[in-house]
């Protein structure tokens, strides 16, 4: 869903949340109207910076409704850690933080949230297999930390098995 600019009909590319007298105000502007309001987005700001700015703006909203800290159960990444570092912890984070990530993605990717480009030849089954291995590896890490060596050896075997399983060819 693309929002229109508050002031004209162009698509809004700049989204701001301001707190005025304790009231949350949202602004959605196109670049021209933003510039007219004295809000300039410099073109040579690295996207990481833009992302950071945007993330910082949304933090305000999030913290008004205190909630449990968001954590990826696979790699232990928290959403606030992502916010600080700008990098995710594992492929599962895209699902774990889906709700928070979608607006950021849309902002960084011109409103797009669905891939339409190249796919690996084994894409269909690969995805499930990938997640299975990722989970097993995180369990392995925990087992090693807890010095559960038998369990660790078991998990290693399981990882090998899943890795060796030939993914089915996608139906043409």
């Amino acid at each position: 869903m693309k929002k229109k600019c508050d002031k004209c009909d162009k698509p809004a590319t700049i989204h701001l949340t301001e707190i005025v007298n304790g009231q949350k105000m949202e602004k959605h502007l196109c670049e021209d109207c933003a510039e007219a309001e004295g809000i300039t987005i410099k073109a040579n700001i690295p996207i990481s910076q833009l992302l950071e700015d945007f993330v910082l703006q949304t933090v305000g909203e999030e913290e008004e409704t205190p909630s449990t800290p968001m954590t990826c159960e696979v790699c232990g990444m928290t959403f606030s850690e992502f916010r600080d570092k700008g990098q995710l912890g594992c492929p599962n984070d895209y699902e774990a933080f889906r709700e928070q990530l979608l607006p950021i993605l849309a902002r960084a990717q011109d409103g797009n949230t669905q891939h339409v480009g190249k796919a690996p030849r084994r894409a269909g089954t690969a995805q499930q297999k990938q997640m299975a291995i990722l989970r097993l590896r995180s369990q392995l890490k925990q087992a090693i930390t807890a010095e559960q060596y038998e369990r660790a050896a078991d998990l290693r075997d399981q990882i090998k098995q899943v890795e060796a399983a030939e993914p089915e060819r996608p139906a043409e």
Binding site: Y94, L105, D110, N112, Q114, H115, Q130
Partner: protein, 360 residues
């Protein structure tokens, strides 16, 4: 192949040939990939990072991805060698400065390189001289296919190739060109290029020396959108709309300069050459500014005693790590340990430039 061999050579992509080479110095295409079933780098244990580095090194070296591919263990390389690789655009500054297990595989002619364990497990690039975006993309795409026969990359049907930063997700494709825009700066019209780039949602940034104006004639323009567009569309848009528009501004500005200020241009160009031929100390920024004028003079055919290839080459070998490395090699030192004082580097730089440009 060793890094010392590289010091004396020009990279293939700086040859000063290829379409639109008067403005487009080089084109680059990069793909970001991560191994499936592994956390992204930030959440890898040191052991996992080493595992990834070893595995990718083996797979890349045996996959026959390009001619004469060699591998450099970046974690084991000295600071000067790492800086050298960065100056040659074979690794990023972050990759040079990081601490964890990592590497880079480079083809013999340096047009192809894969960074291992940069922000993503795999960052592969093809660099070409002039505007050769389509060729570069075809090559990187073929390399990606070949790697994918050996390893699984993290991928989801919704988000495409999964990357550590969501700004690269989807295609993982970043296309960029390095542009030389001296006339736009001289005529005070750089804003035009910057606005054009911004309107098309592109990133534009100064090159050589992060964000300083001193070397302000060189720009890198790259796409920012990696999700929701097919690779071919990203490349085609860049090739047929974006670059020609900016190129056109620069060429018009050059024409205007020649028409109205040819004496002033000649004055600047020949002064630049005279300075480069006689300076005894040359800081890196000053060198860049002077070489930029010289390059403009050559492209406007005001000067023919120096060619484009030489100037492009000097841009590279005049960079700090190159100067220092060359000096060390001449003296027969294998690995200089202490960083050279800047004044000394400036002296050596001036000497190299005088020699190459027939100065006194």
């Amino acid at each position: 192949m060793t890094l010392s061999d590289l010091t004396h050579r020009t990279s293939e992509w700086l040859r000063g040939v290829g379409p639109m080479h008067d403005v487009v110095i080089s084109s680059r295409v990069r793909l970001a990939r991560n191994l499936a079933g592994m956390p992204f780098l930030r959440k890898c244990t040191a052991q996992q990072q080493q595992e990834i580095a070893d595995r990718l090194r083996t797979e890349i070296l045996s996959a026959n991805l390009a001619e004469g591919v060699f591998h450099v263990d970046v974690a084991a390389a000295g600071p000067l060698d790492r800086a050298l690789l960065a100056e040659r655009h074979l690794i990023s500054r972050q990759h040079a400065d990081a601490k964890h297990p990592r590497g880079v595989a480079v083809s013999g002619d340096e047009t192809f390189a894969v960074m291992i364990n940069e922000e993503d497990h795999v960052r592969m690039q093809v660099l070409r001289s002039g505007m050769q975006m389509r060729d570069a993309f075809e090559q990187i795409n073929a390399v990606d296919d070949r790697l994918e026969e050996r390893v699984d990359f993290a991928y989801s049907n919704r988000y495409g190739y999964l990357t550590a930063c969501p700004t690269n997700v989807g295609t993982g494709l970043r296309v960029s060109v390095m542009l030389h825009l001296p006339a736009l700066r001289l005529t005070g019209e750089l804003d035009k290029a910057v606005h054009a780039a911004r309107d098309m949602r592109l990133a534009i940034r100064g090159l050589y020396g992060e964000g300083t104006d001193a070397s302000g004639d060189f720009f890198q323009i790259s796409n920012q959108i990696t999700l929701g567009r097919a690779e071919e569309d990203i490349v085609e848009e860049f090739l047929t709309q974006i670059v020609p528009e900016i190129l056109n501004y620069e060429r018009k500005a050059r024409e205007a300069l020649l028409k109205h200020n040819s004496v002033e241009i000649d004055d600047k160009v020949f002064r630049a050459l005279a300075l480069l031929r006689s300076a005894r100390r040359l800081a890196s920024d000053e060198m860049m500014a002077l070489l930029s004028l010289l390059r403009l003079g050559i492209n406007l055919q005001r000067i023919d005693e120096v060619d484009l290839k030489t100037v492009n080459e000097l841009f590279l070998i005049g960079q700090p790590a190159h100067v220092q490395k060359m000096h060390a090699l001449r003296r027969g030192l294998e690995g200089p340990t202490a960083a050279m004082p800047p004044e000394e580097r400036d002296e050596i730089r001036a000497e190299v430039l005088r020699q190459r440009l027939g100065g006194t």
